[in-house]
């Protein structure tokens, strides 16, 4: 008996069939795992580059969410400052009217007393506006460890510290204006005006008025700064939301299965498996024994 070609024995056939079926089943189980988990990548070796993209995108999503939270907080600060400063402008405007009426020679003493009383109330109102808090933090006190930005007598207790919010990668926006910048010597001017109603009416429409106008401008400037920052932070919040959505979409692309494609693949694989089973059954069955009598 000479051996020209490779002998193929039943064992060889068996081993080959077993191996092929095993490979088929492995593919099937991989596809089923993908379908049931909905994920294309369930371990780094499924796709090392896909894994690093997925991790980077997850981190980006988390970071964008945090930037959005930071921006929301900043919007809270700036919004509170905006309404406080707008209220302050109205109050200062009213004080200006009172001062002008007080300076009018025709005003009687009781009138002046009433004007002085109203000016005093407006001063209190302005003081409370300057002591506005956001989440228990006085927004005009800088970074100082105080509960009120201004003392009852109108002295500034805060500092010039800036409070920033990280609203984007490497983007920090200052979300406070300090009391010194916004209100400056407003409370001294107000105290003067209150006094001058009874003693020095000429000062009311000269030096006091000038100083009051300066204070008004300072508040207006601060309001403009707050408004500009508000828009910036709002824009950054929108942008981080867009970044988050974009990263989420890309993560889905990298990590999630294409459902129709995976279902098709699974069906193809099932057909292939059945074909392999059928072929195996035919190949393994016959032997010479079936034909010997």
């Amino acid at each position: 008996m000479s051996m020209v070609a490779q002998r193929v024995t039943q064992r060889t056939l068996n081993a080959r069939v077993e191996r092929n079926l095993q490979r088929n089943v492995t593919h099937l189980s991989k596809l089923q795992e993908q379908l049931s988990s909905g994920r294309l990548i369930s371990r780094p070796s499924d796709s090392p580059t896909g894994t690093v993209s997925a991790m980077r995108l997850r981190s980006e999503i988390r970071r964008s969410e945090q930037h959005h939270r930071n921006a929301d907080d900043g919007i809270g600060w700036l919004g509170t400052a905006d309404s406080a400063l707008t209220g302050a402008l109205d109050a200062v405007r009213r004080v200006r009217e009172l001062a002008l009426r007080g300076a009018n020679a025709s005003a009687s003493a009781p009138d002046r007393a009433a004007l002085a009383a109203e000016a005093g109330q407006l001063r209190e109102h302005l003081l409370s506006l300057a002591n506005t808090t956001y989440l228990n933090q006085p927004i005009f006190a800088g970074t100082a460890n105080v509960n009120q930005a201004f003392a009852a007598d109108g002295t500034y207790q805060g500092n010039a510290g800036a409070i920033g919010r990280t609203v984007g990668p490497g983007v920090t926006v200052q979300v406070n204006v300090t009391g010194a910048d916004a209100f400056g010597s407003l409370f001294t001017v107000l105290a003067n005006i209150e006094n001058h109603f009874s003693v020095n009416t000429t000062a009311l429409n000269t030096t006091d008025l000038t100083q009051l106008d300066q204070a008004f401008l300072a508040i207006q400037d601060s309001l403009a700064v707050v408004g500009a920052r508000y828009h910036q932070v709002e824009a950054m919040a929108d942008r981080s939301e867009v970044t988050r959505l974009d990263a989420s979409n890309r993560l889905a692309e990298v990590e999630s299965i294409d459902l129709p494609k995976t279902i098709m693949d699974l069906q193809l694989q099932e057909v292939a498996y059945q074909a392999a089973l059928g072929a195996s059954a035919r190949v393994l069955q016959p032997s010479l024994l079936d034909f010997l009598k």
Binding site: T9, P44, V52, R69, L135, Q137, T143, T166, S287, L289
Partner: protein
Amino acid sequence: MSFDGLRIALSSLQAQRRALEVTGQNVANAATEGYSRQRVGMAANAGTVMAAIHARPTGVGQGVTSTTIQRSRDQFLELRANQEHAAIASLAQLDGTLGRIELAFGEPGDEGLGAQLADFNAGWDDVGNRPTDTAARRQLVERAQTLVDGIRQIDTTLSSIRANGIEELQALVVDVNATAVRVAELNQQIKVAITSGLSPNDLLDQRDLAAASLATAVGGAVRPDGNGMLDVFLGGTALVRGSTADTLEVVEGPPPANVLSLVWAKDDQPAGVTGRAGALLTTANDIVPRYRAELASVATRVHDDVNAGHVAGFALDGTTGRDFFVWDTSGYLALNPAVAGNANLIGASSTATDTRDGSVARGIAALTGAESTYREVVVRLGVETQTAARRVEIQDAITSEVDNARDSSSGVDIDEEMTDLLLYQHAYDAAARMLTAVDESLDVLINRTGVVGR
């Protein structure tokens, strides 16, 4: 007319019967692992060629003898198969280990260390936004604790993968030592059988199977010594030489490296093993320590980056210069116990007095070094595991080719055996007919000749 015909027929009957028996043995062992098909070697007996005074040779032979029963086995393919099986055993073991390490890291996902690092960073931002808010500070401490625990958990899993590998290796070595002794014993029996002129085919099969399992377990080269015995060498030193076997031992080196090695019991010299044992050694000495070091580098990065920012920060009580992370007694990353106990000691502010300043905390939140270091580790793990899996696939194909080739030379084919069965049976029938023919001829000669006119 001589009686030669009877003797020829008899020799044929005997030879065919023996061949039938061997065919039966082949069929019986068609599914036996390690069995090599056997063939009866038959040789025609030559007739006498020397002329004698009163006799001249007829030139007809003297029947058939069944000389030997041969194993059909290709020694070269056996060696090759041993090598390939050692390689697949090693690669599959490594692939399994790396797969378990991947599971330990649990990436990519929302529960892995990557997510914990991101949460930890976000916690710093929250403290930066509300430096005086104790809740934000407590939350940061909790997240830091989760991160520290996450690192420790992965490291513990890695250590247990190594410990399991060592246990597996110890069990394997016990098995190898027993198998080596068995090979040596079989060698001895084979030598005795061959000296007595027998064909110890089934002993040879058993011995070769045992040697093959040695090759899978520890690698090694198999060399026939010419007397039917087989020597097994590990890197130049004999594990089995003739009828003697040596013993292997697992030895763990001193800390901190705890290098694991497989040594000869006789002289404590390291043995050159491959196969599954080689892969287990690689697991214990290279793969696991390497990924533990990678993980430690991530921990170091977290420790260094956060501390560098944190020492400059001022706590709510105005104190500064404090570390956020420390190394605990077993070398793991841990929270500074003072900070863990009192979250107000987190240094978020850049000055001693301005407690509402959170710029230091926000600065720490912006650090991304540890996350990218960690991503690199995961990518390296992914690539290494993927490569290992591919090598297993390739080696699997090679191994099955070699197995097929080996089977092609030594495997039992039922169709072939059936054909042989037909051949031997017909030959037997024919020899019987021959016997009858000679018998009838002699009957004619003895009983019916010379009876004319009786």
